[in-house]
Amino acid sequence: MEYEIVIGLETHVQLKTRSKMWCGCVNQFGGEPNTHVCPVCLGFPGVLPVANEEALRLTVLTGMLLNCGLPKRAKFDRKNYFYPDASKNYQITQYDLPSTLKGCVEFESENKTCRVGITRAHLEEDVGKSSHFDRVSGVDFNRAGVPLLEIVSEPEITSVQMASDYLNELKTILIYGGISDCDMEKGMVRCDLNLSTRPVGQKELGKKVEIKNMNSFSGARKALTYEMNRQIKVLRNGGALIQETRRWDDAEGMTHSMRSKEMAHDYRYLPEPDLMPFEPETAWYDSIRESVVELPLARKRRYMKDYGLPPKDTETLVSNPSLAGYFEKAAEHSKKPKAVANLILNNLRACMSESNHSVDDLKIQPTHIHELVQLVDSGKINSRIAQEVFNAVYESGKSPQGIVEEKGLAQVSDSSTIDAFCDEVIKANPKSVEDFQAGKQNALNFLKGQVMRLSKGKANPALVGQVLEKRILNP
């Protein structure tokens, strides 16, 4: 029998706000343990939460970016469970009236356009971080109370690759919207995986297995692959699956059962009495709508159409919104957007990664890239010199034109100068001249290189080839 898998994902994302969800403490990764804390996020007696308006705004904006419906009324609830990293032993979340309703994400996967339904995106709070030492354990509450958005997908993902593409698209959308920095290494994105297996053709879903708290997309991929194979194997061998929660062990590369359905927590949800239910006004929704940005998929399609870029280059640009913005500024007036993209994707990215710069740190401006492409295009400099000019502009932030003048890098196309260079090289390399006359094409390339060297790279390479050929073959 053939089997198919069905995946649903719950993605938790830390929102990019200045302060925490319920108090004025800074929302910032790191810091000495328990330094970004106050009575509110430590759950001291008598404190009350006050909802962070920016977090509410970012939640609604996420809903808009994910094509979600927006409710007339929303509220917060308490989810009760005891754990040392939970400062109140309940988490404030949104249970039955979340801030966003059904929506969907569109993305490309395995050369197809896919659409996955979004059940909801609701706002909640992050918990502290436990550490276990030799004889004691500790909890750092710096992270406790950081606004966390939980984006729940419908069980509509049908392969591991599709899950991976969904996650990457979601991450890019959230970065585009300024919702979250999505820095995986800082734990800003985590996800729970739900996977079930059923015989092909069966309508009902199989038993749902949940794998909790994955903190990297590559881990999620591995866990999904392992779990898919495990479930199919159990079914193939005539076994039965149970609804359960499993834990991914990255070192072993395996999932282990944590608890079955019978042992599932009873979270005893109740409406949060310290926060009033709220009815967002249309005007507020409208003001948020102004922050809606172009989605990555739309941008990708536009780049391919308007700039004629190949898919691979487009993907690389689109996945990095600040670089994409840089590209658009550089390409805005350019007749050669492809050349602009090449400079950015090859030279600029290499320099940036070498010097550990972000787009905001750059001295080289988008207009410089445009200018450099123009210099090459008009024959003012050749493409080899363009590399040198690029590096100089990257270092100094001076204009390419200025660098060319300052360093005298303009391409030499003047025939008498080129004739002189060629004559000198022909005289100094009789062996190569003979070889070329004997039909060895490589010999001409060598001679060409010698001329370029003599001209300090400035000679027009096409012209050099023509002159050499003429002088050697028809002396």
């Binding site: 009575p39 001291f44 008598g46 009350l48 308490r78 005891f82 032993n89 005893r268 949800y269 926060l275």
Partner: protein, 458 residues
């Protein structure tokens, strides 16, 4: 002096002397001013309201060594008004109880008879005012915790409308029912206190952005022509006869003063106790979850977090608190939520609806505060249900979010024990209640009677 009453859990002697000296200097230099209405006045605080640097025990073993790192909004307001905050008052553990016997350090005694309870949970708040240990006190009222002890000790007890006073810094028992209020010797003092502690607080999302009237000014006008309702459901079976007759006399007095008295009905009153104990315990079970011994407070170690929780909470909480946590956990459990919590919320709406409807025709309601006078220490400790029923007249107004006040309206003869009259009004009608209470107080002398305090100790 407090040896006989045991109203205080802690007193900051040096702190209050320093504050008093400062107040004296300020009066000498600048005189009295309207924006410092409590300048130099000693006010005691129920040990459930956070005061920076002061113990905050909530009458519980679990917080016996806890010192608050911050001020409740009401405490800041008191300090800004010039009050001397000097002591922390005894209470039922986490405000759960009606007799102050659930305090982990022993009960407070009724100033009129040390062998009797002062009421609760703000027993210390009422007893300290009646015993002249302070001029006024702050308390909290979740189901009658300010009004019932006021009635049983013989002072004024005011529970403002839900949202009128900030709850920031009030250790929560049942968040949707809790409200901070005061115990005072006179209605006029209650008006002054309310003026100080009222107002919107951005730290409390449930506080209401509404201007604060000049409450003291309300006392100037008369109640002539006001319509006051007498809800028949509040004259319950088993009510002490002296209480019933005192209330009748008080109602006659109000009529004499020019009010029109009409009998009214609040038909869902009989469900109030059940409804209250589902909602209050449900909220309490989650509010008290934070007391786990991890971050602060009393801790009994265990091999793992679960054992630590069990050991800490098992020995840190008293019997009544544990009973309510268990009850609240049960009513919120999957499969029971709809039958209990959700149903109770619906009943709560009906109870609130009763009040809304009645207040379309009357300005206020008059009822007994408590069906009985103060009972003997220990008398109801083995019968929690009897204890719960003692709040039958007060807890509906918490469910509805209304305001209420209890004032002295008589005494029993042998033994001499105070009886309280309760006035209830619609949300934000504190001025009306103060006006009626003030007129009644002016026309009677019940508030002038004082117990003899034996300084030797009980």
């Amino acid at each position: 002096m407090d040896k006989s009453i045991h109203a205080f859990l802690s007193i900051n002697k040096q702190g209050v002397l320093d504050q008093a000296e400062k107040a004296d200097r300020e009066i000498a230099e600048k005189g009295l001013s309207a924006d410092r209405p409590l300048l130099g006045i000693p006010i005691a605080i129920k040990d459930v309201l956070a005061e920076k640097g002061a113990p905050l025990t909530c009458g519980s073993r679990l917080l016996r060594d806890f010192v608050s790192p911050y001020d409740a909004t009401v405490v800041t307001q008191l300090k800004n008004a010039g009050a001397l905050t000097f002591g922390r008052l005894n209470m039922d553990e986490f405000a759960m109880g009606s007799s102050t016997e659930n305090s982990s350090v022993g009960p407070t005694c009724n100033p009129w008879d040390y062998s009797r309870i002062p009421g609760g949970s703000s027993g210390g708040s009422a007893a300290s005012v009646v015993a002249d240990e302070c001029i006024a006190s702050l308390g909290s009222d979740t189901g009658g915790s300010i009004r019932q002890p006021a009635s049983l000790c013989g002072c004024v007890g005011l529970k403002p409308t839900y949202g009128r006073v900030s709850r920031y810094g009030l250790v929560a028992f049942a968040s949707s029912l809790d409200q901070v209020g005061c115990n005072t010797k006179t209605v006029s003092d209650a008006a002054t206190m309310l003026g100080v502690i009222s107002g919107y607080d951005k730290r409390d999302s449930t506080s209401v952005p509404r201007s604060v009237p000049e409450y003291s000014a309300a006392l100037q006008s008369s109640i002539k022509g006001m319509k006051i309702g007498l809800p028949k459901e509040y004259f319950v079976e088993g009510m002490q006869p002296e209480v019933a007759s005192s209330i009748r006399q008080a109602v006659e007095k109000l009529e004499e003063l020019g009010a029109e008295i009409v009998e009214v009905s609040l038909p869902h009153t009989e469900y109030a106790v059940a409804c209250y104990y589902i909602i209050a315990t449900a909220e309490a079970s989650t509010n008290l979850a934070r007391f786990d011994g991890i971050r602060y407070g009393y801790r009994v170690d265990g091999k793992n977090p679960f054992e630590l929780y069990c050991a800490t909470r098992g020995s840190g909480f008293g019997e009544e608190v544990k009973r309510r946590i268990i009850l609240g956990t049960y009513v919120l459990s999957s499969g029971y939520y709809d039958a209990y919590y959700l149903k109770a919320q619906k009943v709560r709406s009906l109870i609130a609806g009763d009040f809304t409807k009645v207040f379309e025709t009357v300005d206020a309601l008059v009822t007994p505060t408590s069906p009985t006078t103060a009972w003997k220490l220990g008398e109801k400790m083995d019968d929690p249900l009897q204890m719960y029923l003692s709040d039958v007249c007060t807890l509906s107004s918490n469910l509805a979010g209304n305001c209420g006040i209890s004032i002295p309206c008589g005494f029993t003869d042998n033994p001499t024990l105070p009886i309280g009259l309760q006035l209830l009004g619609p949300p934000f009608s504190e001025e009306t209640l103060l006006k009626i209470a003030g007129d009644f107080e002016q026309a009677t002398d019940w508030h002038c009677r004082k117990p003899v305090i034996n300084n030797a100790g009980a």
